[in-house]
Assembly symmetry: C2
Homo-oligomer: 236 residues x 2
């Protein structure tokens, strides 16, 4: 009776072994430079067997991306829960910084995961990627973003009052994380110009929180801010 269960477990273990082997190779040599022979050797199986578990090399990458996204989603979840449950609730800056840290910390071992996440719908062939994998990948990502959105709606630290507004804030944050990762990553050794990544991101978050415009020292004059569409005028 337990046979079916054991088989399923073994099957999953094998799939996971392939994934971890692939991750190791992708991290070491990069996706394009890694051959399936490399992966097979690392996983100590034959090349052909890989195809009983994954539809293609890209399918492996997509599965890795999914695995990464799922872990990230869990991390986000626990950060936000912690942020809302304690007595002494952390400030927005602190929470955001924790999320950013998770994002980057997470990025390292998971190598090209997020690149894949980003790329999964265009740069790659994505013929022959298991359909459910791509669907879940997107769905898990959106789930993380949704959690962030809800936190922003609830937290008194943010000015966003409605869904769209909060979602926009989430995308601002998300965009900054993506963007600064890409910037730092592509610049080679993890530091861009004079900045260290962690310090840079922290300051960036602070800056986003308070805005980048010159803050008037005295209360701003009554401007006839046009109904909702713009918060700033187009000419001075």
């Amino acid at each position: 009776m337990g046979v079916r269960e054991r088989k399923a477990r073994e099957r999953e273990q094998r799939a996971n072994g392939i994934l971890e082997a692939a991750r190791h190779m992708f991290e070491t040599k990069g996706f394009l430079n890694t051959t399936l022979a490399d992966v097979a050797k690392e996983a100590e199986i034959s090349v052909g067997l890989i195809y009983r578990y994954f539809q293609s090399k890209e399918d492996i990458f997509a599965s890795l991306a999914l695995k990464g996204a799922e872990q990230f989603d869990k991390d986000i979840d626990s950060i936000l829960k912690k942020a809302q449950s304690g007595k002494k609730k952390p400030t927005a800056a602190f929470v955001l910084y924790e999320i950013a840290t998770t994002f980057f910390k997470f990025y390292k071992p998971y190598g090209e995961y997020f690149d894949m996440l980003i790329y999964s719908y265009k740069g790659l062939k994505h013929v022959q990627i298991h359909g459910a994998t791509l669907t879940r990948l997107m769905s898990v990502t959106l789930s993380s973003l949704d959690k962030l959105k809800n936190y922003i709606l609830i937290s008194p630290h943010f000015s966003a009052k409605e869904e769209d507004e909060a979602l926009r804030v989430v995308f601002v944050l998300w965009g900054i994380l993506l963007g600064s990762h890409l910037l730092f990553d592509s610049s080679g050794r993890g530091h861009l110009f004079a900045f260290r990544q962690d310090e840079f991101v922290q300051r960036m978050i602070d800056q986003i929180l308070v805005g980048i415009t010159a803050v008037p020292l005295e209360p701003p004059p009554k401007t006839s801010s046009r109904s909702g569409t713009r918060t700033t005028e187009l000419t001075q």
Copy 2:
């Protein structure tokens, strides 16, 4: 006498023809799905001839990225010059929105250029990419960022007073552009949830300018903001 010049011109034209053919194919089928046979056919030459002009398929892509980055740099330049020369100087929001628009407008015809820009230093093999191409690619990109930095330093709209601060603002903006492009692009048809990209970006810029924290209605209480490192406290 004009022979050498004509030859040089013809050579450049041929190289350009290959680039444009490659762009067309990359945009249509994606980088990985495009074969050099496709490119050769589109350019109406033989496969072998491509290699007299480019070192590899990836070198072609890098050259396209460079071409794109150069055009973008010019655009940034003219936007910023215009912003500083007129009598009625546009607001920061307007300038930033123009830059964002250029970024996205630009992105469309140039297809995967920025993806390549992003990817050029890691995902791809980038063995066999002409060294000068990569160097210039990075250099042109940094040049654009530097111009933006200078504008932010000079413009009275921004609070940034020193180099590092201004550079950070630039990266915030850059990150947002990269990030929101990736978000919108990967979501398929250029609209994410209920948002249209142009409207979304415009609002996003407004938001970054004023900050995403709840703005206190009365002047904030005197907080002992610790010297410079943080603008927000970690616990409330």
